[in-house]
């Protein structure tokens, strides 16, 4: 078939002799003004997505997976946090934990199941390898949310535990300022898991210290833009918490962690103050209150029935020294400080999972007591002498 030469092309500049179009276009290009904007349509049908979520919840329960749901707006660091978690177990020889990808979940919708497992496999292997090699994950553009099944086996007697990490797009949580609802509802797949999974779920609420590139040359000039972006991220977390309150019935076994990520933007690694690796709880709280006032208030006000201390906690986090898509390779000294974060997070997750199983366990063995230093020995001797002389 030969294409007829296209005599009329579209011009960006206004043409004094506009192209004549059929009358039928008028009614299409001038739609009625009074129609209210509709919310964006969801992937597939709501029913099929809810069914997928129900089956995922059933599979997770049956196979003993502990779901880990990560909420956060675009560029909050969800994917980087996940890759740093998985990468840590492969690079720290002190972790002494085996990690492997779990089996795919068996779902009626085989197309989704196959797709999700392919994505999970790609994330678990390729994305983590790239992270280790110095390349951060790009902006998540998956059309659907999916869970990454991970199985960890600590050395010794600690039991094997299974986790299902949610990977999703940040723009699914961003507020929709044009719509009447303002806050987006959770994706049906995710909300259906929350509704149907009866055991405890770990929730990570990601609140990045900054939304712009931390180590970019243009970072200082981006500060004004950062304020606006953080406000949207603040509202995104509020929306996620609202959705959680609306759909999740069984709350008393859930655990929530408000994570202030990109902590290296606040306190550079290796600094003299020690704020990077061991800030005070007051310092972290002040940052959370100042940068995410709405989300942090909603988090504190979240009612979880029993209100146990372990159910709601706050922590800072650093996935690594990341600028754009480059992950800097840390020095030996900084490595210990940076690895501390995924180690603590794994400890928290493992405790949640084992607590839910009825026997809370510690993932990492407790460190042996430190050997007494010369100063300690001297102080002890002096104390004994003073006691002997009756002072």
């Amino acid at each position: 078939m030969t294409q007829t030469p296209h005599s009329k092309k579209f011009e960006l500049e206004l043409n004094p002799h506009p192209v004549a179009v059929p009358d039928q276009t008028v009614e299409h290009s001038t739609p009625p003004i009074d129609e209210p904007p509709a919310p964006p349509s969801r992937l597939g049908t709501s029913e099929s997505a809810a069914r997928v979520g129900r089956q995922l919840a059933a599979q997770m329960d049956e196979q003993g997976y502990h779901p880990v749901v990560i909420f956060g707006s675009s560029a909050s660091g969800k994917s980087s946090l996940l890759t740093s978690l998985l990468a840590y177990l492969q690079v720290d020889d002190g972790a002494k934990i085996q990690v492997r990808l779990g089996e795919p979940f068996a779902l009626d919708d085989e197309a989704y199941g196959e797709w999700a497992h392919t994505e999970a496999t790609g994330f678990f292997y390729r994305s983590v390898e790239e992270f280790i090699g110095g390349k951060a994950h790009a902006a998540t553009m998956s059309p659907n949310p999916f869970f990454i099944p991970v199985v960890i086996k600590p050395h010794g007697d600690a039991p094997e535990m299974k986790f299902a990490f949610l990977e999703s797009r940040g723009d699914w949580y961003n507020p929709e300022e044009e719509s009447n609802e303002f806050f987006q509802r959770l994706r049906e797949e995710i909300s259906s898991v929350l509704v149907n999974f009866q055991k405890g779920i770990s929730f990570l609420h990601i609140a990045p210290y900054t939304q712009v590139m931390t180590w970019d040359e243009s970072a200082p000039s981006q500060q004004s833009r950062d304020v606006g972006l953080r406000q949207k991220a603040d509202l995104a977390l509020v929306g996620a918490l609202n959705s959680y309150k609306a759909v999740r019935v069984v709350k008393h076994r859930d655990t929530h962690l408000f994570l202030v990520t990109k902590w290296d933007a606040h306190a550079p690694p290796g600094g003299n103050t020690g704020s990077f690796s061991a800030p005070s709880i007051e310092e972290v709280t002040a940052v959370a209150r100042e940068r995410y006032p709405r989300a942090y208030a909603a988090f504190l006000n979240l009612s979880l029935e029993n209100q146990e201390p372990w159910q709601k906690q706050l922590m800072q986090y650093c996935s690594g020294v990341i600028s754009g898509r480059s992950v800097s390779r840390p020095s030996a000294e900084l490595r210990t400080q940076i690895y501390r974060y995924p180690r603590v997070l794994w400890t928290w997750l493992y405790a949640n999972a084992t607590r839910d199983d009825g026997q809370q366990q510690s993932l990492f063995p407790r460190p042996p007591p430190a050997l007494p230093t010369f100063t300690d020995k001297l102080n002890r001797a002096l104390a004994k002498f003073l006691h002997w002389i009756g002072v």
Binding site: V19, V21, P22, Y112, G122, P143
Partner: protein
């Protein structure tokens, strides 16, 4: 509707994808996103390819209609993507502009690609603000949509009138075609690529990968998760043959399918016409029979006695008769009281009352018959009910008897007095 305007789809939508603190989209051609349009997450680059400045990608995607309504064809997306940065910085982002084409129409690929490429170029340079597309871009996008509706951009029907098969709502995996010749501003599309896209639009539903990305020949940054089995080198590898041959085969197949459908429809029409003629014949016979029965009914003696009348008229006549007899009854009583001429009066009253009773009984029996209220006086009279001796309506009232007795006495006394005077 002219033949030319019939080539144009009933509805076209232009959608813009951009990053402004996360991926966003804006739809032109409707105030609200129509139900049939798949969500924007289904389109765009999906962590599979990362474009560098100056690189573009063409997206041909075919989706089920999102509202699950059965319609011919599918929801096609024809889009062009380019490099972009987000407000957060460079995180493998992109921007894009595309057309949603519902149904089975074949576009003029070259013209529409040129339009979309120009829009992407404008979006990259100056068309985006921190909040989204600029008002200047909005104006140009509206103009572009009007341009897209032009008849010269559409070549006709592109597929059979079958709807897409139902199946999983989660899209299939994309296929990536690395082209042999570059494309972009000033270079246009190669003939093979144009034919390949035409062939994709014309291919039967279900026989083509739902999502195909056409990429420039060099320096493509694939995500490491994209395996080599999903990448094709050139359009011939994609289609399994020359694009021209594939397109011709598709069009011939469409023609053959349409011809078959036309033949089936013609046969069905002939059968329907034959059935209609038969029904008309049957109706004529029934009409004739009906007319015969009506005529015979009219000719019968019973019907000759009285003309047929409607129900309302019957009840009016009944009322008149009853009133007439009631009046007669009243007049008879008046004559008797004033003249005291009772000879034959009571019997006359009794007879008239009996007649009234008979008429009433006749009327009532006709009204209560199985066939409902008689439509005419031609109904046979109902048999007279037996008359009982004890019925009080046959005996004159007591006062009449008393008056009669008094009258007799007075008459006898008068006669006696007259006779006594004569003596």
């Amino acid at each position: 509707m002219t033949e030319e305007s019939a080539r144009v789809p009933e509805q076209l939508l232009l959608e813009v994808l951009y990053f402004a603190g996360g991926i966003r989209s804006k739809l032109y051609g409707a105030t609200a996103r129509p139900e049939w349009v798949p969500p924007p997450e289904q389109i765009g680059l999906q962590n599979d390819v990362y474009l560098a400045p100056g690189q573009f990608a063409i997206d041909f995607s075919r989706f089920r209609f999102a509202d699950d309504v059965v319609r011919p064809g599918a929801a096609h997306w024809f889009g062009v993507y380019g490099y972009a940065k987000d407000l957060y910085g460079d995180r493998g982002n992109f921007c894009g502009v595309g057309l949603w084409v519902p149904g089975v129409r074949l576009p003029d690929t070259e013209g529409l690609f040129d339009m979309l490429l120009k829009l992407v170029g404008m979006l990259q340079k100056s068309g985006l603000t921190e909040t989204g597309p600029s008002s200047e871009f909005d104006d140009i996008a509206e103009r572009a949509l009007k341009f897209a509706y032009g008849c010269e951009n559409w070549l006709g029907l592109a597929g059979p009138l079958r709807a897409a098969e139902p199946g999983s709502t989660y899209g299939a995996r994309a296929t990536y075609v690395v082209l042999e010749e570059p494309f972009g501003p000033g270079t246009g599309l190669s003939a093979d690529l144009v034919l390949a896209i035409d062939a994709l639009f014309s291919s039967p539903i279900g026989l083509v990968t739902p999502r195909i990305l056409f990429l420039p020949p060099t320096d493509i940054n694939f995500d490491s998760r994209i395996t080599s089995d999903r990448v094709r080198q050139g359009v011939q590898r994609l289609l399994g043959g020359s694009p021209k041959s594939v397109l011709v085969r598709s069009l011939l197949s469409i023609h053959s399918d349409l011809a078959s459908e036309l033949e089936s429809s013609s046969t069905a029409l002939r059968l329907a016409e034959a059935n209609a003629a038969q029904f008309e014949e049957d109706a004529k016979l029934v009409r004739e029979k009906y007319d015969q029965l009506v005529a015979r009914l009219k000719e019968s003696k019973i019907t000759a006695l009285l003309p047929p009348m409607p129900k309302e008229e019957f009840f009016e006549k009944l009322e008149d008769i009853l009133r007439e007899y009631l009046n007669r009854l009243t007049a008879a009583r008046s004559r008797e009281q004033s003249n005291l001429q009772l000879e034959g009066g009571s019997a006359k009253v009794a007879t008239e009352l009996n007649t009234i009773k008979q008429q009433l009984n006749s009327l009532l029996s006709n009204a209560n018959s199985k066939h409902g209220v008689p439509n005419s006086w031609s109904q046979p009279e109902a048999p007279l009910p037996p008359v009982g001796i004890s019925e009080t309506s046959e005996m004159p009232p007591w006062w009449m008897l008393a008056a009669g007795a008094v009258g007799l006495i007075v008459a006898g006394a008068t006669v006696w007095w007259v006779l006594g005077q004569g003596a």
